[in-house]
Symmetry: C2
Subunit: 221 residues, 2 copies
């Protein structure tokens, strides 16, 4: 398996965690994702991947975009250990937590959205930081309410083993802790507790951006 991605991409980070939890190894293909220059903008990358994003998993002839599609695929071809519970309603709860991160928290803060804010509205680093903090604040406040009131929440987002929801939560929390955002995690104690529980597991720790071969120190945005 080849995984096209980037150390600091939250969406790639999700897939790294899922692969590590399932004990799958992969060849890492770096796709640079920097404010000033991204491989995504290059015609040859778009010819390879029309969605012009990361991550992309290439496995046995299949080329798969979108972190959740990749993780559902891994769950189907390598069911153990499961990252989704068995009962339909529980699976729905886990997917709903992951999708809240994927559809409502991460997208407004993506590099391509931030670049448009700068180009169209003149947003500077201070405005971009405030913008990212806003989506963190409303997002984690919502997740805290959803997680803290449910008996289904355990050591992790759902019960006492990690699921797809944790694969999405951890990169989002990690991203919120970068100096340019610097969200105060203590406002969301359940989110903070689950984040810490996850990082005690080698699969999460090994998947951190700073533990990737293409790591670079962040320089803003």
């Amino acid at each position: 398996m080849k995984l096209y991605g980037w150390h600091s991409s939250a969406t790639t980070f999700r897939v790294r965690i899922a692969m590590a939890l399932k004990g799958l190894s992969f060849e890492h293909v770096p796709v640079t994702l920097r404010w000033e220059q991204s491989d995504h903008d290059q015609p040859d990358y778009k010819a390879f991947n029309p969605q012009a994003n990361v991550p992309v998993l290439v496995d046995d002839g299949a080329q798969i975009n979108q972190s959740l599609a990749i993780i559902e695929y891994l769950e189907e071809i390598r069911p153990e250990p499961p990252l989704l519970p068995r009962a339909a309603a529980d699976r729905a709860r886990v997917r709903s937590l992951a999708l809240f991160v994927a559809c409502e928290m991460q997208p407004p803060t993506s590099l391509r959205v931030q670049r448009q804010l700068a180009a169209r509205f003149g947003a500077d680093q201070r405005a971009l930081s405030a913008w990212q903090l806003h989506w963190c604040e409303i997002g984690f406040t919502a997740l805290e309410a959803q997680l803290s009131r449910s008996a289904a929440t355990g050591t992790f987002c759902h019960g006492n083993t990690p699921t797809v929801a944790d694969c999405f939560l951890v990169p989002q929390v990690y991203t919120s802790q970068r100096p340019v955002v610097n969200a105060d995690l203590s406002k969301w104690p359940t989110v903070q507790r689950i984040y810490r529980s996850c990082l005690e597991l080698p699969a999460f720790e090994r998947s951190l951006p700073q533990n990737q071969p293409d790591f670079e120190s962040p320089v803003g945005h």
Copy 2:
């Protein structure tokens, strides 16, 4: 089953289509989603649904957020007719198309993002229309490339029966045709052809915003 949603919400529209394709009926609970006033902003709605969004499916005690989580749930409890193909790689392709719409096309144009653009950057209707058109253009251009080059594309996004990908594509195209966006669909002939094929099916036609009991004529944004 109860479906909390709104006629013009693209995310609710996705679930209506999936339910209609599966022959499932539901009680519709309107949650207003207007520029000037939304039920999402109300404390009692947030107490019910911490994610403060639509759609929400309530079924047999389960309360499920996020359109894709709802549709995957419906696929599990009511497998026929299937909205996902059988093979893992094909399922991944369908999910990746749906998730591209869900994570990259719709979110930057959501009501909550547009409101922030107005509040933080003074974006007026003209700027908001241009913003929405931008995400339509890059999104449909990517989808056109992905769909047109693949032998897996048929009458619909994947083969000759509708799948989850079509449940996501149709509301996104529909939204792009509103007067405030008015994207030129002829630029994306495969997308246009699939959209038309879908609307020939009663399940899609019946799920259109104008065929819902809470329909109101659009007034901008």
